[in-house]
């Protein structure tokens, strides 16, 4: 039973890591290609959530399955899990704060379809 679960964990974890690496690459590409800061945030989200949180969860799963790490695999598991949770909490707050600060600091939003925040701020 445990054997099967371990194998499952291992393969899921490896798949997540591979996906994460690809997300990293694509996020970096997006960060390069996109035209302005606010659009780049989306690529950065791909890079952070897809490129760091998913693979860290995957690493947690792998650590359960890695017999060669011995007793210390619990430390691996807990460490990567805590890191993943921390990034999951803080990355959105950080990028939100950056976006808000940039918008107030007059970083250009062009190209854009609409900017209701600018309008609302202008009105009040």
């Amino acid at each position: 039973m445990w054997e099967v679960v371990n194998q499952l964990f291992l393969y899921i974890g490896m798949a997540l890591i591979v996906v994460g690496a690809l997300c990293d690459l694509i996020g970096a590409l997006g960060l390069l290609r996109f035209p302005n800061f606010f659009v780049r945030i989306h690529a950065a989200t791909v890079g952070v959530i897809g490129g760091a949180v998913y693979p860290l969860f995957g690493l947690t799963l792998i650590a359960f399955a890695c017999d060669f790490l011995g007793y210390w695999r619990w430390l691996f598991a807990s460490g990567s899990f805590i890191t993943a949770i921390i990034i999951m909490f803080t990355a959105p707050a950080g990028s939100h704060a950056l976006a808000r600060g940039s918008h107030r600091g007059r970083v250009p939003v062009e190209p854009k379809v609409c900017d209701f925040l600018e309008e609302d701020k202008g009105r009040s």
């Binding site: 791909v46 959530i49 897809g50 609409c114």
Partner: protein, 169 residues
Amino acid sequence: MSRILSFLATFLLLFVVFIIASASISPMDIVLGLITSVIVAAFSSTLLIKEAPTKVFNVIRWAWAIAYFFYYFLIIEPKCHWDVVKRILHPKMPIKPGIVRVPYDVKSDYTITAVACSITNTPGTVVVDVDEEGKKYYVHWIDVKATDPKVCHEMISKTFEKYLRRVFD
């Protein structure tokens, strides 16, 4: 009473965090964890849990939270990722960015934050600002399909609110 409950809730949470952080359940870690959690909880319980600490002990809320966690990470996130990845890799970069208003209908700080974090964590939407009086987010959307607040709410944040209201509100 509520203060004691909030203290207890904070204490339990911190204890779990300590045990996970030290990755062992040896007697030494348990004793140290108890002491640390008591001290930290003593001065941060009011910070962490401002009102209605009974919510923390509600099992149904925790169940919803876990369900939401899996739903979010297994279904919503991959979908959004796939969408943005397509846009990045497409030679013409089909983007239509803009900042739209998204109204919300939740009460507590935690729900507002959780919904905002959920929106930000999905690629394609980023909360740029919050208007607490007008009860709306300003969301930067990579592909503006509609500018009407109702429709935006429908497309961006409805699912998150539905789950998170059950967890936090």
